[in-house]
């Protein structure tokens, strides 16, 4: 429809929050605040449309403010269903996509074309497959690349045209094959929580610095929302079914089983020795899950650590202290 998708992960650490606080309220995650700050300070002028997935009440309400402060752009709150069992969900989501399309057509000035969508689905499939490959390497040979590397390569995927990002991922893959897998005496750790707001690079780095291998993570969930999407047939229906069938199990999707079982399964799959919960400050969906997760981990005597982060933090003393203690508690006898 003549639009280039960019994923907006908040404003990052360089954006100073001075307007958004007032508009939103106090107990809110940084991604919502900094994203709104960008809008309130006219830094989103180049964008013609904003799609807010309904991941939580905050993202939803931010859309409501966007619609007031950026009257010239199209804004749409995409209602992501939470009922994964109803026969009506796929038809609804398909209809929901149609409503979105109507808006995007207005913004992009080009009509929706199912064939182009199918082609785009194919492209995104390739991107997801290559990303899955990268995360599998991290799981199987964690010494080969750092979490920071893995993260940065993935993060580019939200900014670059997919046609450029996919070959890049392939190149990374072949270069990794050349790299020796130097495994340190580090703790295989599952990283849970940062599925929406992203931690700073320093913090991502710190976790491995103190002696963990993050063998599986929830970072940049946006690139892993679906498995493969079938490009044939009606692409919208396919997207909707892919959404419903997605195995993604994060705080903003109603749980398929109990949270306790889910975390133990994931620890098992990652062969992790411990879990780090790294949740965005004031991210209520993530925070509430942690309580349920940790009960199950305690039952099974699996060590875990819960840290909270903000987009704009420069002091990591407390995080370092806790991470070190976590590592030491597993390493020392």
């Amino acid at each position: 429809m003549g639009l280039f998708p960019v994923s907006l992960h908040g404003g990052g650490e360089s954006v100073e929050i001075s307007h958004a606080d007032a508009a939103l309220g106090s107990f809110l995650c940084s991604i919502s605040k900094s994203t709104l700050e960008l809008a309130l300070t006219s830094r989103l002028a180049p964008f013609r449309a904003f799609v807010f997935p309904y991941v939580c009440d905050v993202s939803r309400n931010v859309e409501g403010i966007f619609s007031r402060v950026l009257p010239g752009a199209e804004t749409y709150m995409l209602h992501l269903p939470q009922n994964f069992h109803s026969a009506a969900t796929v038809p609804f989501l398909t209809a929901e996509y149609r409503r979105l399309i109507a808006r995007l057509e207005k913004a992009g000035g080009e009509p929706y074309d199912p064939e182009r969508l199918a082609a785009s689905i194919e492209l995104f499939n390739q991107q997801r497959a290559a990303i899955a490959d990268l995360t599998a390497t991290k799981r199987n040979e964690p010494g080969k690349l750092t979490l920071t590397e893995s993260y940065l390569v993935r993060r580019l995927g939200g900014l670059l045209p997919r046609e450029i990002h996919i070959p890049l991922l392939h190149r990374v893959r072949s270069e990794l094959a050349q790299r020796p897998n130097r495994t340190k005496d580090a703790i295989r750790t599952l990283l849970v929580g940062p599925f929406c707001e992203q931690p700073t690079l320093d913090l991502i780095d710190l976790m491995e610095q103190v002696g963990c291998y993050i063998v599986d993570d929830e970072l940049l969930q946006i690139h892993r929302w679906y498995d493969r999407v079938d490009p044939g047939g009606d692409p919208l229906t396919n997207l909707a079914s892919a959404y419903v069938q997605s195995p993604v199990d994060i705080g903003v999707r109603a749980a398929p089983t109990t949270k306790g079982e889910a975390i133990l399964r994931r620890v098992g799959a990652a062969e992790a020795q411990g879990v780090i919960f790294l949740t965005a400050k004031f991210c209520e969906p993530a925070l509430e899950d942690v309580v349920l997760y940790r009960k199950a981990l305690e039952r099974e005597k699996i060590p875990y650590l819960h840290l909270e982060f903000e987009e704009r933090s420069t002091s990591y003393e407390s995080a370092r202290l806790q991470l070190e203690t976590f590592v030491e508690s597993i390493l020392f006898d």
Partner: protein, 270 residues
Amino acid sequence: MITCGLDLGSGTTKGVLLEDGQRILASAFAPTRGAPVERGRQILELMAEEANILPGDVEYLCTTGAARYAFLDRNLQVSDITASGRGAVFLAPGTRHVVDIGSQSSRAMSVSETGRVIRFKMNEKCAAGAGRFVDRCAKYLQVPLEEMAPKALASAQPKIISSVCAVLAETEIINNVAEEVPLPDILMGVFLSLAQRAYILMRYVGIQPEVALVGGLVKSEAMVRALERTGKISISAHPMGQHAAAIGAAMLGYSRVQKLSSRPGRLPAA
């Protein structure tokens, strides 16, 4: 063999000299005043003097506390949570749960019989729950720190502070003073509100006997009573509790030496 543990805390610097991982030869303590490295050195010298040895006789030095990285003449550094768990069990071997209240943070941890930390939780969001708050109240109410506990213990109806913010809590205290709430009640209220916050951490980790209080607040009997009252549990507070992390660091240093000397090669500096 002598190992040294230095706890370079944000409020105070503590040190111990430990012989063969068992016997405390010397200990020392001084307010950090923003110069942890200098303070660490002074303490080391003080202790050497007390133990009648030369600082060079210390075979292995392990730092802990906020400035543990800043002290370069160390062999090892460990986190102060790890260290204080060890130290608490050294001081009171039956300990399975440790509450550490220092100047800037409170932590609760469950520990194994060797003092290994199993689970822990520290206060993060707000500063209202640690020693600095007590210091400020002491200053504000013009009661010397040492006199707070005896005065507080005379309280009949403690006035608990409800505000979550350390600074706004001060205002609340001001209001209490203005409303002529007796001083002991205000003071005990300060400790109880600290205890309530600590108790949340403790329950998060899971409380099992025996419970030991360590960190600077062991010096205050009122703190011990407040915790006991809040949690309806009994709490041990060793007079050396403020040195728990330093002791733990010295112990960890010792076991590190043992491990390394069972292997060939020289002692490395961390």
